[in-house]
């Protein structure tokens, strides 16, 4: 058994927390809690990135930490909070399939993700390579959340959580993407969120609800 340094253990712990939060989001019915869970996931992501930056002396990763903290822990959850207050939609989230079945599906996805990541993580020379499987799993869980939820806001949170997983994959496999790309991605996420905010109001104006069941008129 080779010796694992403390910081690597910490990262593994945070990766586990990330996955746990992804499952918690999958199981969560209340929108408000869902937003808080999303913020917590962002925080776990930022902490693990900070540890990687500190331990491997990658100063550019601190920028990425800052971006994640500002954008995903503060700004986006705050926007979402305001949005649900304004729209007055603190209803329970209805899934298309019930929670236990979703969780079982989630476990299958995790196994699949670990198998898919195995050949790649063996090639990686980063110390964090073991967490690549977890990153892929959280991407897939977020994807599952997107397709099993019927309302607009949970779908968007699923989309944002998927972005979290992708960022985690980038840090664990390669110590982060080049700065210009990371900035671009952050900008896109922010703009997407603003557009969607406007969009929610339009959808509700038209349909008097954010239930996406109304959006099933267009076929073929």
């Amino acid at each position: 058994m080779q010796h694992i340094p403390l910081w690597a253990q910490l990262i593994n712990l945070l990766a586990a927390v990330l996955l746990l939060l992804a499952f918690a989001m999958l199981a969560q019915r209340r929108v408000l809690t869902l937003i808080n869970l999303f913020a917590a996931q962002g925080f776990a992501l930022a902490s693990s990135t900070a540890i990687v930056a500190f331990a491997t002396h990658q100063p550019h990763l601190y920028w990425s930490v800052g971006l994640t903290l500002v954008l995903k822990v503060m700004l986006l959850p705050w926007l979402l909070h305001r949005l649900i207050l304004k729209l007055d939609v603190r209803w329970d989230v209805e899934g298309l399939i019930n929670i236990p079945t979703t969780m079982l599906l989630g476990i299958v996805l995790v196994v699949f993700a670990f198998n898919l990541a195995l050949p790649i993580s063996q090639l990686a020379n980063t110390v964090t390579r073991a967490t690549l499987g977890i990153a892929m799993a959280s991407v897939m869980l977020a994807f599952l959340m997107m397709i099993t939820r019927r309302k607009a806001i949970p779908q968007v949170i699923g989309f944002l959580a998927m972005e979290n997983g992708l960022f985690f994959a980038a840090t664990s496999a390669t110590y982060g993407m080049p700065m210009v790309v990371e900035l671009g991605i952050a900008l896109d996420v922010l703009v997407a969120m603003l557009i969607l905010g406007v969009f929610f109001f339009q959808i509700r104006e038209q349909f008097d609800s954010l239930d996406l069941q109304h959006l099933e008129k267009l076929k073929e």
Binding site: I120, V139, F143, M177, V181, F207, L212, K217, L218, E220
Partner: protein, 483 residues
């Protein structure tokens, strides 16, 4: 340097300007003017590339070679003609009460931003920036598709956002994997995502990682190309958005997404040394052609009809690049060009036809030729061109693709021919009564802009008879690069 600055900077400046004054009386003219300057910049860039060969500028951030230079020129050109078409079209829409000045401002500003994101995606050398530009293109078009704020258009825009958002996230994962493979050879930092650098070391990139990356990239960007089974957003987005947007979606955005796929394919081919990438592309391409042609038969809405036709043509091009080889890739590039020109011309004609008839349902559009011969003939000639009638350019490229397929992939030829036959029957039988016969349409309050239609069709006709030597050279060089 100055040319690329013009090509990218002018649309951004135009978007900012139109965000302020886009709802005013003369906004449509400003829009045309901005597109004209952008096009002039693209022409200057093209001339420079003809003279000096491939350009690598701004610390390798932008790269213009024979593969993307004609796409940049094409994008700027179709952007210009679309802005000319949209001037009377949007004015009529506003008078019909579909749009307020505020929406018109949003439309003009987003139109320019959309142009910018496509030109950025085409000219950047950085695979990460390419991704960022594609995502930004998705976001701008979401706003354009939902412009009318009708329930159907909101649904289409939401569907588009979710499907393309998920798709583009897959592409990001593919890009991360690509960076992961490259970083070992090129070192961390910005250089490892530059396409030119990647291309020079593609033989040493780890094949397992690249194969996996390609699957994600193909699925991701393929969603935007509209490949079956990822095509669900495409007909809705085309049918519910304003017609100028349908024209640029079909004519330009699909091309840009396909361009991204082909750039990735070049890298993967160099690394993997098997026919893995080719087989995947041929499979997706063929499936798209066959499924789209069958779905064409069931369409009632004219814009959906031509949207499915776009899926079919994108399938043909993907199949051609999948087959590879100098002739098939040449034909694929030619088909990209002629499809883009023909399809946007058709959408221009369709736009005015639907305004005249007051409906997008094909049963409600009859006898266009009696009231306005130009629109009627534009639609008829455009439809014949897109169906691959000689002497138009689409015939030339489809002929080349089919003859190569007979030699290299004989099993696919009957499927392709069958699909082309079905789509011929489907589109021709629908267009014929719309153009001729008893008329139901009324006159328009403004004179429609029909010059873009005939300019496009004229170029397509020319490309069917004679390809300018520099263009043929580019196609050949690019085809060699694509392999």
């Amino acid at each position: 340097m100055i040319e690329i600055l013009a090509v990218l900077g002018v649309p951004v400046a135009g978007a900012a300007l139109l965000a302020l004054v886009g709802g005013r009386e003369r906004a449509a003219e400003i829009n045309v003017g901005v597109c004209l300057i952008t096009f002039a910049g693209a022409v200057a860039l093209t001339v420079r590339v003809i003279g000096e060969g491939p350009l690598l500028i701004a610390s390798k951030l932008f790269f213009v070679d024979s593969f993307n230079v004609f796409l940049i020129a094409l994008t700027a050109f179709v952007g210009l003609t679309t802005s000319i078409f949209s001037r009377p079209y949007m004015r009529i829409e506003q008078e019909l009460g579909h749009l307020t000045p505020g929406r018109l401002r949003l439309y003009h500003s987003m139109f320019q931003l959309f142009n910018f994101t496509m030109l950025l995606a085409l000219s950047t050398n950085n695979m990460g920036l390419l991704w960022v530009a594609m995502e930004a293109a998705t976001l701008t078009t979401v706003l354009l598709i939902s412009l009318y704020r009708t329930p159907a258009s909101l649904e289409a825009a939401w569907k588009y956002f979710i499907l393309c958002g998920v798709g583009i996230a897959q592409a990001l994962f593919g890009t991360i994997l690509l960076y992961f493979a490259a970083e070992k050879l090129l070192g961390a930092g910005g250089n490892a995502l530059l396409w030119t650098e990647l291309n020079s070391v593609k033989g040493e990139l780890e094949p397992t990682v690249l194969s996996l990356a390609f699957v994600f990239l193909l699925v991701g960007y393929g969603t935007k190309v509209g490949l079956v089974p990822l095509h669900n957003w495409l007909p809705d987005a085309h049918a519910e958005g304003p017609t100028p947007v349908s024209a640029v979606l079909s004519g330009l955005l699909l091309n840009v997404a396909l361009y991204a796929v082909v750039r990735c394919k070049v890298l993967v081919e160099g690394s993997v040394q098997t026919s893995f990438a080719r087989t995947l592309m041929m499979g997706f391409g063929l499936l798209s052609v066959v499924v789209a042609s069958l779905l064409l038969l069931r369409q009632k809405d004219i814009k959906r009809l031509f949207a499915y036709s776009s899926i079919e043509h994108m399938g043909i091009i993907t199949f051609a690049f999948g087959m590879g080889g100098p002739i098939a890739s040449f034909a694929g590039l030619l088909h990209m060009t002629v499809h883009s020109l023909t399809k946007s011309a058709i959408f221009f004609a369709v736009g005015h036809a639907t305004q005249k008839a007051g409906t997008q349902l094909m049963d409600g559009i009859r006898g266009l030729v009696t009231i306005s011969p130009l629109i009627g003939w534009g639609l008829a000639v455009g439809a014949l061109a897109i169906l691959g009638m000689p002497p138009f350019g689409v015939f030339a490229s489809e002929f080349l693709i089919l003859t190569t397929a007979i030699h290299e992939q004989p099993w696919a030829t009957p499927l392709l021919l069958g699909a082309l036959g079905i789509s011929f029957a489907a589109i021709f039988s629908r267009v014929q009564p719309m153009v001729f016969g008893e008329t139901t349409v009324k006159r328009l309050p403004h004179r429609p802009a029909m010059i873009p239609v005939f300019v496009h069709l004229g170029i397509v006709l020319m490309l069917g008879l004679w390809i300018p030597p520099f263009l043929a050279d580019w196609y050949r060089q690019a085809a060699r690069l694509i392999g």
